[in-house]
Amino acid sequence: MFIVLGLFSPGSTRRPPPKKKAKGNNASRSTSMAKAQRLRKPAAVAPAPPPVQPAQSTNAADTVADADSSAADADAELDDVLASLMAEIDVADEGTAAESWTNVSDTGSAASEASGASCASDSSGDSDTSATRAAAAAPTLGGQAARGKRAKQVLDFDEASYKAAFGDMPYHVAVTTLFVKYAQLLARLTRHHHCRAPMTVAGAEEVGALAKEFVLGYMVPILGEWFSTKVHKLLAHVVEAIKEHGALTNGDTGSNEALHGQDKRRYNRTSGNDDAFRTQMLRVGQGSLEIRARLAKEAAQFDDWFEDAGTRDAGDGALVGGDAAPDGCSNPPLAGVRCAVGSALGNAQRPAIPRRAAAVAVDQLAERRGLVSVADALGVPSGGTLVHVSNSLTFAPPHVVLRGGPSVATPAGDPHVPRVALVRRGGL
């Protein structure tokens, strides 16, 4: 009730009048403005005695004067009604706030106990729900409602609880700790640290205890009392939510929504008609799939032809396989280098130089920032030694990636270790 009144009750300052419609011709606008001015003028000069009208005044002038006085009366009456309504609402607001504070104070002891209770207690939600609501609402409502002022959604920093929780720790360190705890909690909730094993009930309860520790042990002492539906759910309903819906990753629509970006170009090619755009997008999508398949097939055929040609021309590799870089050519014929490598290895299964790897001289590579001593790192003499470099590399790490700190357990030998790309900037 308090929230509803707090949201919808008028404030101490009145809202500005609604803006006039921007559209419309100037004549009508000027007419309406003139009418408004005519209606406002008598209200402003209402206490003043009416001007003495000449006896030969026309009937029209009398009509205008009557209309002005009636409009002034209507405005005054409207102001009176609004003032009385505001007074009633303010009285009801204060009464409701005081009443809610009375109710809250009944559970105040429970709230304080809950705030100071062990964070690793049971993760069922009923008692914690009331405790959280009371603990979150008490200072905000009670402190200001007792002073007879309107309650505001302003956090109050409780230095005593902060001292009790963190001692003499600097505030910025405590805030950093808060973020660390939140990151750990989020990692456990979303299970995005390469943990693909299903969450057990014990794990869910552990996550619930972690959420409770985050709210009561870190969030409330640092940020003050917080009344929020999200915090309440985080504190009281995490375990139930996990039991019903699984890990939060299952409810994350980010991956699906990320696909909208890919379909945006296709959608822009449609007519935008609600009945037709789906079919049009499907047609465009199928067409692009066919084109991609055709290009992949052509690329595979070209690779087959390229491999065959390299085998046949293996002897030509020695012509360009030297260490000197061709003058004015930063990208020598890679086919020759590839053939040289292929002839040296004599086996197609052995690693070969990727065709897209650009060849640069070591001196040119050393001109880049931070690569002055690249020749020493590679163990080659400075000069025109050709080095083939790639822009990016995709590899599967040979070891299981362990992340998320000690609280995140990664099963050994997880077959779902993703392939990640190491992408280098620049276009070497």
Binding site: I353, A357, V374, F395, L422, V423
Partner: protein
């Protein structure tokens, strides 16, 4: 994102003569596929080393290793090392230590506003972001 792919330069690697508990860090500078016409699959990294941390730092306590550039005395740039692909353990999200940035250069400073010279590179500190949500 770089052309639809994540863009990571930080790597964790372990050399062949290191123990199983040793993890080294560095920033990839060049991906080498061949040297002198011979296949050599290596990554040239600017070496980083684990450095001191503020006592009680919550990030370090959570597992975020604090790093700094590994620079020889008198050198202007971090030392380079060529690491074979097989020695790269994983990619790392290595971020600048903003506490050091603000303490050394003011609260309005950012890594981009800091003058890029040898002295600032020596004093730069980094953190391994263990909370990064890898795909």
């Amino acid at each position: 994102m770089y052309r639809g792919l994540p863009w990571y330069d930080g790597v964790a690697f372990r050399l062949s003569d290191d123990g199983s508990a040793v993890v080294r860090y560095g920033m990839a500078r060049a991906i080498i596929r061949a040297v002198g016409g011979k296949v050599r699959e290596e990554v040239v990294v600017s070496e980083m080393r684990i450095c001191e941390s503020t006592p009680g730092c919550p990030l370090v306590g959570a597992g975020c290793t604090r790093l700094c550039w590994s620079m020889e005395p008198g050198a202007d740039w971090p030392s380079l090392r060529s690491v074979p692909f097989s020695s790269v353990l994983r990619l790392e999200h290595i971020v600048r230590d903003f506490d050091q940035v603000t303490q050394s250069h003011g609260v309005a400073a950012t890594p981009r506003t800091i003058r890029d010279n040898a002295a600032n590179r020596r004093s730069a500190r980094f953190h391994v972001n263990v909370f990064f949500p890898w795909p």
